[in-house]
Amino acid sequence: MYLTDEQQAVLNGSKGETMAKVMKTLVMYGETFGADKLVPVTSDYNHLVTSFGLKMMKPVFDLMQQLIDAGAISSQKFSVDPRPLDKNVPANFLQKLIFNKFMYSTQESYEQQLKELGLMNEDAFTCACYLDQVGNKPKKGDILSWAESSAVVYANSVLGARCNRNSGIMDIMGSIAGCVPHFGLLTDEGRKATWIVKVECAKKPEAQLLGSAIGMKVMEDVPYITGIEKWLGTELSDETCAYLKDFGAATASNGAVGLYHIENLTPEAKELGTGLIAPDAKVYVIDDEELARVQREYPVMWKKPDGAPKLCFIGCPHMSMQQLKDWTVRVEEGLKAAGNKKVLVPTVFTTAPAVKKEFEKTEFAQRLKDTGVILSYICPLMYMNNPLCKSMNVITSSNKLRTYTTSRYYTEAQILEIITKGGQQK
């Protein structure tokens, strides 16, 4: 791999041993993937995936401290994934004890490290950092050193930025060095689609279910998706962006998709059309039956599969302002139709702290509160990341949350029915 004189000097120790290790990490990373050079990171801000002071991650905190002590700090400020705890989210005594004393006992000290490393601000804890209210929205063509699979796939696909599916820690290494290896999704060739996905559903497919089906089929490949513009339109409206946010998160967590193209909609597909499709691309046809099959085959991990739901999470990835407003109306209407005043299952909507603040200035905030729904900035995945949740029947419309926890996935319509009318869908 070609290195500039300056990069070579850093690798040789001109800026100290720690910076040499940072550069060595990036060079090894690039060489593993046949990168030809290191290219400058051009986004205004970085985004890190590691937001949680999990006790078991001491090796990561030790590494971060090594960077701080050596003054190896990036010139970029960054946002970071959501906090794992929020006292407003229901938890029993035992859960609170486990969360605070055993699991996230290093949260405070880790947040101090994040401040020293360049956290954008106190509200910069969200997986959906690209939402307008948060302010970390890259431009088309920007080179990023981000991690967080759902943010990477959104930045690549919807915003047209360029970022590999970097791992946590690798994200901060690229930002500190100011450069990342040029391979994979940073190259024109790496952005070509090796799958054509033909959506032949009779009705608009559920974003998180369609994303799951595609992710499990194409794994790390790039899909070019046709047949959904009739529902999504050809412009990136707020509603469409929210759909793509949820869809992408499912492709990235149920598989390993870092970029997708949607015909006539996403920026590169609009520019280059079918020229984005690589020769010999494989074909995957999705219809309603295929989506039903995918949903049927999700394993049920509840200890008591026929038990009643005890908690519902909506918002993994974090909800947008428009989604919060739409869901407020849907819950209100669902309750009214069922003759109920409050949701029948404790329900938590999760969003970015900056979105939450803005939402709370609107009339919808009180209306949502009146339905009994709790609004939080928490990461539901981190909340559920403990053995007690196995015996707690959690439902969700997030296929990402389903993948990493014992929560049970339902479509949005099914979830709405369960929380407003009661009962459990089979």
Binding site: T25, M28, E148, S167, A256, N385, T406
Partner: protein
């Protein structure tokens, strides 16, 4: 006995018992529970992986096509290495993915004395041939010998 030749991503030699995943290995879903709650045998917690769910991974020859899922994957693998709960080696039938590569590289640059040979591009035949419980030897030149 069969021999397979791959590319060395992280050097080293080892003989270990195979555990085989035919689907993508979700590092976060597989290891988070084990690392967090003191399971030194690193029992796989990924409910979506019928090949590995409930099986011990620490010290084993983990045979897989690739890793998938959350981009915390690399740091989870890095933590497993720092805590001595990593697989004995990782043997990929496909070219390695960015998350597994990151975990392996971070461990090699930032941790001392960690041994986890990583070989990729072993081919689909490798994953078809190797079965749970077989003895797998990784040689210095990236040759993988499967017996059993």
């Amino acid at each position: 006995m069969m021999e397979f030749k791959g590319r060395i991503v992280a050097p080293g030699t080892i003989t270990a018992e195979a555990v085989v995943s035919h689907g993508g290995f979700n590092t976060l879903a597989s290891l988070q529970g084990a690392l967090q709650f003191g399971d030194k045998k690193a029992t796989c917690g990924d409910q979506n992986n019928p090949d590995l769910h409930g099986k011990e991974l620490a010290g084993k020859a983990l045979c897989l096509p690739m890793t998938i899922g959350s981009t915390t994957g690399g740091l989870v693998l890095y933590c497993a290495c720092a805590m001595g709960r990593q697989p004995g080696c990782m043997l990929f039938s496909n070219p390695i993915d960015s998350l597994a590569a990151a975990g392996s590289i971070l461990a090699s640059v930032w941790l001392e004395g960690v041994q986890m040979p990583v070989i990729d591009s072993l081919g689909e035949d490798f994953l078809s041939y190797v079965k749970d419980g077989m003895s797998v030897t990784v040689k210095e030149d990236g040759t993988v010998v499967v017996e059993g």
